[in-house]
Symmetry: C2
Subunit: 734 residues, 2 copies
């Protein structure tokens, strides 16, 4: 095609699939020429964004290792503070005192006919300028217990509860043994937790090249994927109980706060756990004997995976310094002209495991670019109606420490003032990922509609929709997705700083990031560097600009509007979908339980399982009773009615606007979720065993999944009551 | 559990799940006390079977390499002849003169920055007594063309047509290049055939450890799976055009038969092809550059799989001796007392690629054990009503040479006399696998009902049923399978000696074998040895006895009955299922084509595919028209009626009995399948691109799959006519 034809095509695309013309655009919450003014403001905002400046910010802030508690970590916070100030924001550092352990001693050795001492070290590479720096945290899992244990080694696949069910069938017990699990499928912290529940004495986690290494593509530095020495650091705090400083649940970790005894903290492990590379894992796995692992357990290392049961023993010795360290949150404000006590909060953490060019600096650089652009507009006379609060959190990596302590410390104020919390974390080339409160789904769609994808020149909404269509598994689902208007936003689990806002306080929240074409193995390693980022993540920093636009437009649209852009119809539709999922889950679990129990009773497993494998049949499971879902279904009928009439309203009073954002708090249950009272939201929580992975309507869903039928029925009542509260509350908005 | 309790349990099982009591048993075709007499005969037959004697036979006949044309191959035929004679059978060797090439020269070398010369040799192992013997055929693919070619190397996954579609999207052309494909998914002969269709100059096939090696389990000799040097030999004759001697299609390869010019034989390749080990494949694959292979293409070797496009070049040089060699079939008969001109034929090949303890001797030993047992009964006065014809085929490995030439040579006689052909090949520990003519499905079920599985003490039918229930993917399908009476037998593709009987002549056929717990990597290698067999396949030879029982009881029940045990209701039900599959296939293909074409036209692929991958969208496909299935559906209605009334009949005349077995011939179409006239059966054929894998109603199914809509409609008419012929024919049975 000639250049002329190509330009014509592009012009055509910009008219059809690209950003729509201003006069066609609906901005929820904006009436009359307010929409046009807002779009003009966003246009001026966009002009202030510079991909090269984002690149410079990433380079500067990731130039040294800067974990929480390090001198460089403090310097990064101060650098950010100065940036905010230079942009004209009112900024300060808010400090908490949090526990954060770093290693004193790390040892993994294989004993038996083959011996091996693990390297536990990622080598410096000449192709990666920062990889040989001083000040790197060694490879470890923060919040491992101290321990000096030795035992037989057992391979437990991903270390999921169902993996231990299989071990039981194979007659292998992990009591007093060391388990080796691979990263993936569940959050890393779930692996030692489940191992501990089964009596293991210690836990090793390794990155299998099937999931994170040469199987995916060429390894670093030739390609982006994990080389044999790369290790994923990371927290194993049991954040599904509560995140933040483990010594100060529910309160800010101020200098004088009351603190738990560390050994009593309910979200800390009792056993030692350490992550290792696949280089270090190879001799350990090769030493295993006993049954061959089932196919689903096999990785990409070049030998037969065995479960264990032979003579391979492992010695694991770990100790940590367990120090209280300062945690520096940077908080910057730009006061609202009309509703200064309504806060639009935007945040991204600044601490990294090592250099963290992608995680978190790529997201933080976009946030700072927004602050820079808004500051420039402010200097030209722009003032938001509501107060903008831009935050750079410390201590996210060990367990959302900075954000959680700040939120717990300001809980009452935030419940009053926080209109929305907009989070980001790492960012790269690809597709928009958006999750959060579903009353904000319409807003997200309208924002995404108006931003152009840097690679394809269509809107980021159209590109995301296209990817959802292609990902659909069947022609039927593809057709459905194709017919659908807009995109659904995801539900929030955990793993970044939105958790305390949404799940502890009920602040409406959003999380944005681009990705999907930026895969690699650098996560939480020394290779998450500027060199890696510019080669494999977002070479031109154009997705940095796209993130600034996405989060910035969102913040500005919420800050500048008269009527807040909440659309509770979307919340209704989403929850309705969840309830359908729960009823279907219960039915399908009932059906599969009945037939599986019959197969077990009829000895079909004994007849079919290779007798040479010595595999017991599965255990009988409790039959699934019929649950009474009617309280939830009736509550949904009420929500349907009230949200329909709310959606028809055009004008809201100032008080009504406040009620719109405080509505989310009606969905909290004061008592929290079963066995984890910190989590109060009835719709969204990280899964008890999945960790980061979300469970929607978690009280009911997890009770069903874990076969606690009485609890499931109770939780149906609790969630129905929350929805009824919300309906009554929304019905009172005038 | 105590021993007493255990015995009690076993006794209980024998009553409930095990072989049913004689008075409960229905034997189709047997009335009055004939059934009891037959069961008594089978009981006496069983008593003659000896697992240890089967083991001795396997050891003796696999003691040396014995491929077709070798001195030891001839000696094995003569040994078998003597055995039949000693058992009291009337036996002879029937010799044909067939083309069979063995290698003169084999060379694979990698050129470029890394060079490598492939070993092409499986080493002798001290743990395997026969692995170092003289007389082994080298590792090669029989029927490769001679060739001396050099070219860029391209990795083509399994070498399926859709793999080349992906290569097209990636902009990689194989014209004039050497392709490397892995074993699996398609029959080996399809790989060079498809490569040749795409213009490749040569083809290398290797065994990836993901499919055949350490991924599955410990490698030989520690375990059963393929070690790094193991190579799968095998034929690449295009047997889906026709099997047998490539120079004498449709006629017996007698000494004076008219022969084609070899270079004109339509089922022989024009390009060279060679199989190699994963040891030899490793440097070749590692030298590849270009795009990373998609996930579905990746194997288990410890590096990133690339497709190619770099500097890696391969030199492949092969030449063969192309000699005409004698092919020794051993044919043994035991004359029928009442219907001597009705033949119950039983066969298994005797030639092996090397020692062939499993393939074919494990099946042949069971066949000889049957002959021994029947001979012993005969000496005690037993005489079958119909003539038993027991056959040991030569030259099966290169392309079903012996059986095909004998069948072609005796075509007219077999169409008159052959009641059934019962095949076996290799055999091992596990589950009954049965496939064949569906009018014999009831017979197979009744036979399997009465044989006890050596490991679980339930019937082999109950064990197979249990495995089918557990294999069902969803609770719903499990429930359906559980409710089902009996087992469905499979449809026949190709890959063993039944092909010419069923697909060329329309002789009702069956194929039996046990397996599923005998997996390993010895197939067509020097390690298919007695040592391997006794460690990993069927250590006690008890499944050898089970195979003798299954095939023997089947042969005896057909030979001894007054009324032949054909049940055309099962044929009707099965074909009805196939027609439903075809209508669903057409609908789902229409649905997927429409949506895929829409996605392509709407540029969804361009918007979604990582721009860094330079992957073109798929090509638009022809939309799927509505086909007129009514001729088939009406034909099925007719077959339904006639088979229902046939099933109600109790007595058949002698002529009617003959008509029952000759009915299958009504399903032949004289013109054969499109582009392969040798295959005349309208219901069963090996797939044009799957090779061994069956395609049912192949004329219609393959036309649909390959989007030849006019041909599909024509074939619907042809198959409907065949079914109508059968209905009319069965309606005339009196």
């Amino acid at each position: 095609m000639t250049t002329t034809n190509f330009s014509l095509l592009m012009a055509l695309l910009l008219c059809t699939g690209g950003a729509a013309r201003a006069q066609d655009k609906k901005l929820t919450g904006y009436t009359g020429n307010a929409a046009t003014q807002q779009l003009e403001l966003e246009n001026r905002f966009d002009k202030q964004l510079s991909s090269s400046h984002i690149g410079e910010t990433i380079k500067a802030l990731s130039s040294q290792p800067h974990h929480i508690g390090s001198a460089r970590g403090k310097a990064v916070a101060e650098d950010i503070l100065q940036r905010f100030k230079s942009y004209g924001w009112d900024a300060e550092i808010v400090t908490y005192q949090v526990l954060f352990p770093t290693p004193k001693e790390r040892l993994v050795e294989l004993k038996g006919s083959t011996t091996y001492k693990a390297l536990l070290k990622e080598p410096a590479l000449k192709e990666d300028a920062t990889s040989g720096q001083e000040g790197q945290l060694p490879t470890y899992n923060a919040w491992s217990a101290d321990g000096d244990v030795e035992g037989e080694l057992v391979y437990v696949n991903y270390g999921l509860p169902e993996d231990y069910e299989y071990l039981d069938r194979a007659g292998i017990n992990v009591k007093g043994k060391i388990v080796i699990a691979k990263y993936g499928r569940s959050w890393r912290g779930s692996k030692p937790k489940v191992a501990q529940e089964h009596g293991a004495a210690g836990c090793i986690i390794y990155s299998d090249p099937k999931d994170d290494g040469y199987y995916s593509g060429d390894v670093y530095p030739k390609g982006a994927f994990k080389n044999e020495y790369g290790v994923q650091r990371g927290s194993v705090m049991d954040i599904v109980i509560y995140p933040g400083d483990p010594l100060t649940p529910n309160t800010g970790a101020t200098a004088n706060a009351q603190r738990l005894d560390r050994l009593q903290a309910p979200n800390l492990l009792k056993i030692p756990v350490l992550p290792i590379s696949y280089h270090d894992a190879t001799p350990l796995l090769q030493a295993l004997e006993g049954p061959v692992a089932p196919d689903e357990w096999k990785g990409a290392l070049p030998f037969t995976y065995h479960i264990g049961g032979g003579k391979a023993r492992v010695h694991l010795k770990l100790s940590f310094d367990w120090q209280i360290r300062p945690c520096y949150n940077v908080i910057a404000k730009l006061k609202g002209s009309e509703q200064p006590d309504q806060w639009v909060i935007r945040g991204n953490h600044h601490d990294a495991w090592v250099n963290g060019a992608a995680d978190p600096i790529s997201g933080l650089a976009a946030l700072l670019e927004e602050a820079k652009a808004i500051g420039a507009l402010h200097k030209q006379g722009y003032q938001p109606k509501r107060t903008l609060v831009y935050c750079a959190w410390d201590g996210e990596e060990p367990g959302l420490l900075g954000s959680t302590e700040w939120v717990e410390d300001h809980a009452a104020e935030l419940k009053e003032k926080a209109v929305v919390y907009i989070n980001s974390d790492n960012n790269g080339r690809g597709f928009l990922n958006a999750s959060g409160s579903h009353a904000l789904e319409t807003l997200v769609n309208e924002v995404a509609r108006d931003i152009t994808d840097p690679q394809t020149q269509v809107s980021i909404l159209a590109r995301k929709q296209a990817s959802e269509v292609l990902k659909a598994a069947t022609p039927k689902l593809k057709k459905e997705k194709l017919a659908k208007q807009g995109i659904a936003i995801g539900a929030m689990g955990s793993g970044s700083d939105y958790s305390s806002f949404l799940q502890h306080l009920g602040v409406p929240s959003l999380d944005f990031g681009f990705g999907g074409e930026d895969a690699g193995g650098e996560y939480h390693s020394i290779y998450d560097s500027y060199d890696d980022y510019t080669r494999f993540k977002d070479p031109g920093f154009n997705y940095g600009v796209a993130l600034s636009q996405t989060a910035g437009h969102t913040a500005l649209r919420v800050a500048n509007t008269v009527t807040l852009p909440f659309d509770y119809r979307k919340l209704y539709e989403t929850v309705n979908g969840y309830v359908n999922e729960l009823t279907e889950l219960t039915s399908s679990l009932r059906e599969s339980t009945t037939i599986e129990n019959q197969l077990i009773r009829d000895r079909k497993y004994q007849l079919t399982t290779d007798t040479a494998k010595h595999l017991s049949p599965p255990l009988l499971k409790s039959e699934v009773p019929y649950l009474d879902f009617s309280p939830l279904q009736n509550a949904l009928t009420g929500l349907d009615t009230v949200t329909t009439s709310l959606a028809a309203r055009k004008q809201f009073s100032a008080a009504a606007n406040k009620a719109l954002y405080q509505g989310e708090q009606q969905l909290l249950n004061d008592a929290g979720l079963p066995a984890r009272s910190w989590y109060k939201h009835t719709l969204y929580a990280p899964g008890f065993y999945t960790g980061y992975g979300v469970k929607t309507i978690p009280g009911v869903r997890e009770a069903i999944e874990q076969r606690r039928w009485k609890e499931a029925q109770e939780q149906i009542g609790i969630v129905a009551a929350a929805i009824n509260r919300l309906s009554a509350y929304l019905g009172n908005i005038h």
